[in-house]
């Protein structure tokens, strides 16, 4: 319905979907391309790395004579990056260790984004008491730094993957909800939403069919930002010993396990995962900045015409 109405307004201009415009403007920037290359490279390492790993992630390194390697051995032909705190292959554990960080960060961000968008849309559309109650509840969750909230739960329940996703997802929700509500408040007032209400379009279709597509830009920017922060929180939880548990191979956990190696001249067990996590967050934040600049550009262009 509304697409037609717009087309009648300006028949000469072929209107594109907002997210296509956003993606074009985002991809047009060098920083986005750099970010995408970095992230894809690390996703590739995490995804197919295990197929190239010389050892199983929890297997001890064995030398040619069959004897087991010692902890924190320097790089050798048997272990290209040396051995870790209990004599396993650093390279193999590095290649195995990316999946958990990526999967958990993506899942928790997805959970937080879905919940936050639903809550934010509902608040903006219903206004009044429901809006007030819902957003004040979000503010209470915002009273805790994400990591602190997760640690309180871990202290009670004990470390578990589901708990990590839940804790990080729940603390992502209010942040996404705020942005969604802020952007949606303005769209709710527009004519085409009023028109859709007038002809009796069901509320769910107005929320997800009319309002959501028109707040894509701020949402994509926020969710990418949240992904960057959530990678940090997930990795930090494992680093602190409350995420993935030994003998799992995980980048955050590796940093923790191999810190003693720094003192005895075998830094690779720490350096590799630190580089990977650092590059990953830099990559996602470059992409996020690309989105953010593109969104500002689109908004600015719209304001001028």
């Amino acid at each position: 319905m509304t697409d037609q109405a717009i087309a009648l307004d300006a028949p000469a201009v072929r209107r594109q979907r907002p997210w296509v415009i956003l993606l074009r403007a985002t991809w047009g920037q060098t920083r986005t391309k750099v970010g995408v290359v970095i992230v894809l490279a690390l996703v590739a390492v995490a995804g197919v790395g295990p197929f190239f790993a010389p050892y199983a992630p929890d297997a001890p390194v064995q030398r040619a004579h069959g004897e087991y390697a010692l902890p924190f051995e320097p790089p050798s032909s048997a272990a290209l990056l040396g051995t870790d705190n209990i004599g396993r292959d650093v390279l193999s554990r590095f290649l195995w260790g990316g999946r958990s960080v990526l999967a958990l960060a993506a899942l928790s961000t997805l959970l937080g984004a879905v919940l936050g968008i639903a809550v934010g849309l509902l608040a903006a559309y219903s206004r009044g008491l429901l809006d007030e109650v819902v957003m004040r509840t979000m503010d209470v969750v915002l009273a805790f730094p994400q990591l602190v909230f997760a640690l309180v739960l871990v202290a009670t329940v004990g470390p578990s993957l589901a708990l990590m996703v839940f804790a990080v997802g729940i603390t992502t929700m209010p942040r996404v909800a705020r942005v969604t509500r802020g952007a949606a408040l303005e769209v709710v007032e527009r004519d085409y939403v009023r028109a859709a209400e007038g002809i009796g379009v069901p509320r769910r279709r107005i929320l997800f069919g009319e309002i959501l597509p028109n707040i894509t830009s701020p949402l994509v920017v926020e969710v990418t930002l949240r992904l960057t922060f959530n990678i940090a929180v997930i990795a930090a939880l494992s680093f602190l010993g409350f995420g993935l548990q030994p003998p799992a191979a995980d980048w955050g956990l590796m940093v923790n396990e191999n810190r003693q190696g720094l003192l005895v001249g075998q830094p690779w067990g720490v350096v590799m995962p630190v580089l990977a996590i650092g590059l990953l967050t830099i990559g996602t934040s470059l992409i996020g900045d690309g989105f953010s600049r593109a969104a500002i550009g689109i908004e600015g262009g719209r304001g001028r015409t």
Binding site: P145, L147, V148, T156, L240, V274
Partner: protein, 320 residues
């Protein structure tokens, strides 16, 4: 003025309500969750006698509401109960650590603020020049890095593997003040400074870009004032105003950041104490520190909101 006072009162009341609900969440999450807190603390091999004793000590046999009420009454009178791991009052355990954390946060704040202002001003003056671009990309990258990654990277660079110039962990005798260990403070402070400076610098730059294009800066230039005078007498004081808000937000962020940074450097503040307490399942300490960090967070965010109203004339008049 009544408008502003009304706003401040409402905001403070709202902060108090938030904190009250936060205390319910903390209590519910740590003590009232289904399951036996005593068993999860002592583990599977606990004897029935020790379980019963701990349940008694934690007050787990009483109704949940009464447990919460007694805990809250204790909190309000400064009694957080006894640490299970250290067998002494929680306030003693926290009291020693809080000085360390406060000093670390103070150091990070007084270094990062002038640094951020200087970077923001310099970038805004050479807008879209090479300096601006480099600062923008570097600060974007640094802001993205998790604190423990920055901390560990600094340890690798300056303490263990590349240069051996600074201590990588803090070894502090109990009872000595934090400022008697300047060398140990360097790396944790730099880590926190790296965590908070980029954001402030970005806000400062944005605010300066706007001001440098304003009429009164144009006017000052046309009067023939030197560029130095225009910058530091006219532009910068106005540009700093919005960053007060950011400082409060940043300090709130530091309250979360110290958890990881103190653990990386084994620094004996409340952040590392929190992690230790979670490891030991020392629930009274976990509850107290979670509430303390939440309180810090809520108060600083409240100050940020109030500062925003006070420094922006348009919002201020809209309240009158």
């Amino acid at each position: 003025m009544r408008g502003i006072r009304g706003f401040v009162i409402r905001r403070v009341l709202f902060g108090l309500v938030t904190l009250f609900v936060a205390s319910i969440i903390i209590f519910a999450a740590t003590q009232a969750l289904p399951g036996d807190a005593a068993r999860s603390i002592l583990g599977r091999n606990a004897t029935p006698d020790s379980l019963a004793a701990l349940r008694d000590q934690l007050g787990l046999n009483k109704p949940v509401l009464q447990q919460y009420w007694e805990w809250l009454r204790g909190v309000l009178t400064g009694d957080f109960g006894n640490s299970l791991a250290e067998q002494r009052p929680v306030t003693d355990v926290i009291g020693e650590r809080i000085v360390y954390s406060a000093f670390l946060m103070f150091l990070a704040a007084i270094i990062s603020f002038p640094l951020a202002v200087a970077l923001g001003v310099a970038s805004a003056r050479r807008r879209d020049g090479p300096f601006d671009h480099v600062t923008s990309v570097v600060s974007l990258a640094l802001a993205a890095l998790p604190e423990f990654i920055v901390g560990i990277a600094l340890v690798v660079l300056f303490a263990t593997s590349v240069f051996h110039v600074l201590p990588g962990v803090t070894i502090i005798d109990p009872g000595t003040p934090p400022w008697s260990h300047p060398k140990e403070l360097i790396l944790p402070t730099i880590t926190l400074v790296i965590a908070v400076t980029p954001y402030t610098a970005r806000i400062m730059r944005a605010s300066m870009v706007e001001i440098l294009e304003s009429d009164y800066v144009e006017m000052a230039r046309l009067k023939g004032l030197s560029e130095q005078l225009v910058m530091w007498r006219h532009a910068v004081p106005n540009g700093i105003a919005p960053t007060f808000q950011v400082i409060a937000i940043n300090l709130a962020y530091l309250a979360g950041g110290i958890v990881v940074v103190e653990t990386v450097f084994n620094y004996p503040g409340i952040g590392a104490g929190f992690v230790d307490a979670v490891h030991a399942r020392d629930m009274p300490v976990v509850q107290a520190l979670a509430l303390l960090i939440a309180a810090l967070y809520v108060v600083l965010n409240m100050l940020a909101d109030i500062a925003t109203i006070l420094v922006s004339p348009r919002l201020r008049t809209s309240l009158k």
